[in-house]
Symmetry: C2
Subunit: 138 residues, 2 copies
Amino acid sequence: MTAAFSLDSRLAADTLAVADLQLSAVRLMNDATYPWLILVPRREGAVEIVDLAGEDRVQLMEEIATVSDVLRAMTRCDKLNVAALGNMVPQLHVHVIGRFAGDPAWPGPVWGKAPARPYADASREGFIAALRARLSAG
Amino acid sequence: MTAAFSLDSRLAADTLAVADLQLSAVRLMNDATYPWLILVPRREGAVEIVDLAGEDRVQLMEEIATVSDVLRAMTRCDKLNVAALGNMVPQLHVHVIGRFAGDPAWPGPVWGKAPARPYADASREGFIAALRARLSAG
C-alpha cells in the first residue's frame, strides 16, 4: 500500500468484519434478509475496478471467486449476484450476494429495497465464525 | 471452446452486437437512457463467474477493464456500475454501465426501472461505430 487505508464510514456502519484476504477486507452486510458479503480492496482512494493496478484486478477477481465459492457452499443459494456499483459510497467495494428464487427482492436486485433487518446476535456470530473458518481453510 | 456457444434469446433481443473480444461478446443494451454495455463470455453453459476456468476469469476481468476504459472515455460518465446478476437471464453476462449523477435511476441501480428507450437509428449506429473503433484500437 502506498497510503494508509481507512474504511468508509457508511460501509463501517452497515457491515461487520469477517476476514482480511490478501487484497480485500471481507465484510458481512448486517442484513439477515440476504447472505451478503462485501469485498473492500485495501487501496486508499480506489473507486473503480478499472483504476486498480492490473495485478490487483487479478487478485480481486480471485477473491471474488473465493468468497463466491464459500457463500454458495454455506447457503446453497440459487444464484450469486456480484456487483461494484458505488453510486452512494464511492470507496471501491464489491457485493457478493447469495440469492434465492422467492427472496424478498427476487428476481430484482437487492439494493434500495426494504430497510436492513439486522442479524440476531447468536446467528450473526455463528455465521461470521463459519465464514472465517471456510475462508481460512481455502 | 468445448461446446458451441449460442447467445441467450433475451440478451439477443435486448442488445446489439458491438465486437468480439478474446473471451466475450460485447453487446450494447438498446436503451438510450444509459450508456450500457454487456460482456457475454462465449462459454456455453456458463452461469456464475466463479464457475469459469481461472484463466477465463482473469481474461474476463481484463475485458471488464477494457470496456470500462472505453465507455468512460467516450461518455465521461461520473461512475461505472459493473455487475453480474443473472436472476432473469442465467447465461453469464456482465453489465458495464456509465452512470451520471442525476440520470433517471441515480443513485439507485438501473435494473427494473422504466422501459428501455431504444436508440434512434443514427445515434445507435454512430455509437456502435465509435465503440468498435476504440475497442479495436485498444
